[in-house]
């Protein structure tokens, strides 16, 4: 359905209006984060501050620095590990059909849809028993394990595009299971690795349920620290808003710079899963 003439003006007006509506929360977040606590008043919530109060950010950074650091360590290490495992799993499930493999994949993929409440208490007890409760290594392990379904599925669907003839030729040249992965599959894994890494990084950075139940205060990721601050009483709103900007920044930057790959991950999740 393509329109011409005056209706094109109408459509452009409409889309600009919608974009403004979508940006309202961003506008309010930024102006509130730049107000001094004394200037935050419900009636003047929509007015930008006369003088930006940058101290909100200084305070927020010093308050959130430990949890931001935790989130960076957690998201990067869990992303790399789960992407590496997903790559090798995807390779096996795509190119090395073993007996029963047909039933394995749906069972694996089911794991990414479950409500994590349904495994939470046994997980909690298990982490306590193996001594990983409360710290970052435990959270990394949890994110790697529950990231396996999506990373495996994404890599598998990318590897399906590598023609089997190419593998056949490599066999004739004497390559074995690991050789083909190392010299043929891995060099072609750049774009899929980027898609998977962006997806996992965003998911892990944004995750809350595991973080709030499995981390001691010293290992809290940013989502928990932000929820605690914003949920507490008698806090002036410039801080949670500045904290929201800090918590959102990494994933928004990744999205704006690498949006193409982000969207591919989103679409693959829906159209192929």
């Amino acid at each position: 359905m393509y329109q011409r003439g005056t209706s094109r003006w109408f459509i452009h007006g409409l889309i600009v209006l919608l974009a403004v509506v979508y940006l309202i929360p961003v506008y309010l977040t930024i102006i509130t984060s730049l107000k001094a606590p004394a200037d935050i008043n419900l009636m003047t919530a929509w007015k930008p501050p006369a003088h930006p109060y940058w101290a909100s950010y200084a305070t927020a950074i010093s308050k959130f620095a430990p949890s931001l650091e935790n989130s960076i360590v957690l998201a990067i290490s869990a992303t790399l590990l789960s992407a590496a495992l997903g790559s090798i799993n995807g390779y096996v499930l795509c190119k090395w059909e073993f007996p029963g493999a047909r039933f394995v994949l749906p069972l694996v993929v089911f794991g990414m849809f479950i409500p994590y409440q349904s495994i939470l208490v046994p997980l909690f007890q298990f982490m306590r028993r193996i001594g990983l409760y409360g710290g970052l290594p435990g959270l990394v392990l949890v994110h790697v394990v529950y990231g396996l379904p999506i990373t495996t599925l994404l890599f598998r669907s990318f590897y399906a595009e590598i023609p089997d003839e190419l593998l056949g030729a490599a066999f004739i040249d004497g390559a074995d299971f690991l050789g083909i992965y190392r010299w043929l599959v891995l060099p072609l894994s750049g774009p899929p690795f980027l898609v998977v890494a962006i997806w996992q990084f965003t998911q892990i950075w944004n995750e809350f349920l595991f973080a709030v139940t499995l981390a001691r205060p010293a290992s809290q990721p940013i989502t928990v620290a932000l929820a605690n601050l914003a949920g507490g009483q008698a806090v002036s709103w410039n801080l949670p808003m500045a904290g929201s900007v800090l918590a959102a920044l990494p994933t928004v930057v990744v999205y704006v710079l690498l949006g193409r790959y982000f969207i591919r991950g989103l679409l693959a999740g829906a159209l192929k899963g």
């Binding site: 096996v92 849809f113 939470l120 046994p122 299971f177 679409l267």
Partner: protein, 370 residues
């Protein structure tokens, strides 16, 4: 060509991952289900060697019919309303945005980015932001005063008002009626496809159920000895708005990808046949987007049924009007130490999500699409 050694290697390489998933997904689900069949809780939760008894399905019966568990039933109802409204709004808005953006507008990439970027945020960030926007005497409510109108006074997240109330007592009656209609419709559908055996197998029980419901038999299956009103908590509207703000860009991206894969020849052919732009949209483009709608319903639906972070950040876990089973499970387990009851809620949540996900997984893997 492929040696036995390589084949063994392949299985060995994938085994650790499969073993981890077997334990962390299926093993833990098994443990949760087992816990839900015991009386583990309260004193026993804190004891060093808790004394736990097997109680069968008592926890489940309590949740659905017990006098004390009225909040669980309301949360279940809230979850259903939230899911329907959020999925419906995201689909409608996403389709609308995709249709507009597909009009070859200027600066398309900028608009796409604006509508899609909330998707990259955490539900915690979205919740914190919208918590501020929906303050009773601030944010959205003072918007009318900017143009000289009196400010609105809606209590976005704490309103106790309910719409569409119904009596939980007679729920079995409605369920039987619903099941009867589904079975009869299935029977008619099979008969139309000349599968008379299936038609009789599902249609006749359907008619029997209908007769039972209509004659008042099912109405005697009362869940509670007392009437109990549940309905749609208006406080959830704010959560629906925030969730739709975050996820409608996702449905937009899905629909836009779908619209862009429709070959132009199809549209051209319809136009040559004299179809107006609106007719091309209605009869050529929309039907081709149906599979995308199904995928989006599954993806958004399972997110909505499990919704936890957003409610936690927007209203806190203790705010009853916005509570859902995922929140209640958290409170019951970690604040109330009622582990068995929490496990029952978790198991019910898993069953509800599975009803949505399992048919989707089965059909997509059988079709070999994945």
């Amino acid at each position: 060509m492929r040696s036995r050694r390589d084949q063994v290697m392949a299985v060995l390489v994938i085994m650790p991952s499969l073993a981890l998933l077997a334990i962390f997904v299926y093993g833990f689900i098994g443990q949760t289900v087992y816990m839900s069949l015991t009386d583990w809780g309260q004193g026993a939760a804190l004891a060093l060697k808790p004394e736990i008894h097997f109680v069968g399905t008592r926890n489940y019966a309590e949740l659905f019919t017990g006098f004390l568990n009225v909040r669980f039933r309301q949360d279940l109802v809230s979850m259903v309303f939230f899911t329907i409204l959020f999925v419906g709004a995201s689909l409608a808005l996403g389709l609308f945005l995709a249709t507009i953006i597909d009009q070859r507008i200027r600066g398309e990439a900028v608009f796409r980015t604006i509508f899609l970027f909330p998707m990259s945020l955490s539900f915690i960030v979205t919740g914190t932001i919208w918590r501020w926007l929906l303050q009773p005497r601030g944010g959205v409510n003072v918007l009318p005063s900017l143009v000289g109108l009196p400010p609105a006074g809606f209590l976005w997240l704490s309103s106790r008002e309910q719409a569409l109330q119904f009596n939980w007592q007679v729920l079995p009656h409605y369920v039987v009626l619903g099941a009867a209609f589904v079975l009869i419709a299935w029977g008619v559908w099979s008969a139309a496809r000349r599968r008379f055996r299936t038609s009789a197998l599902v249609g006749l029980p359907g008619m029997a159920l209908l007769a039972w419901a209509v004659t008042g038999g099912a109405a005697r299956l009362q869940l509670l000895p007392f009437p109990e009103a549940h309905g749609f908590n208006l406080a959830l509207v704010g959560v629906v708005i925030a969730a739709t703000w975050q996820m409608s860009g996702y449905t937009m991206a899905l629909y836009l990808a779908g619209l862009r894969t429709i070959p132009d020849e199809l549209r051209e052919a319809a136009r040559v046949d004299g179809a107006s732009p609106l007719q091309v949209y209605r009869y050529v483009e929309l039907p081709l987007l149906a599979p995308i709608t199904w995928s989006a319903i599954i993806i958004l639906g399972h997110i909505a049924l499990k919704i936890f972070d957003l409610v936690f950040a927007m209203a806190g876990p203790d705010n009853a009007p916005t509570s859902v089973p995922a929140i209640l499970m958290f409170l019951t387990t970690f604040r109330g130490n009622e582990l068995a009851k929490g496990a029952s809620i978790a198991a019910i949540l898993l069953v509800v999500v599975s009803i949505l996900i399992v048919p989707y997984l089965v059909t997509s893997f059988r079709a070999g699409r994945a």
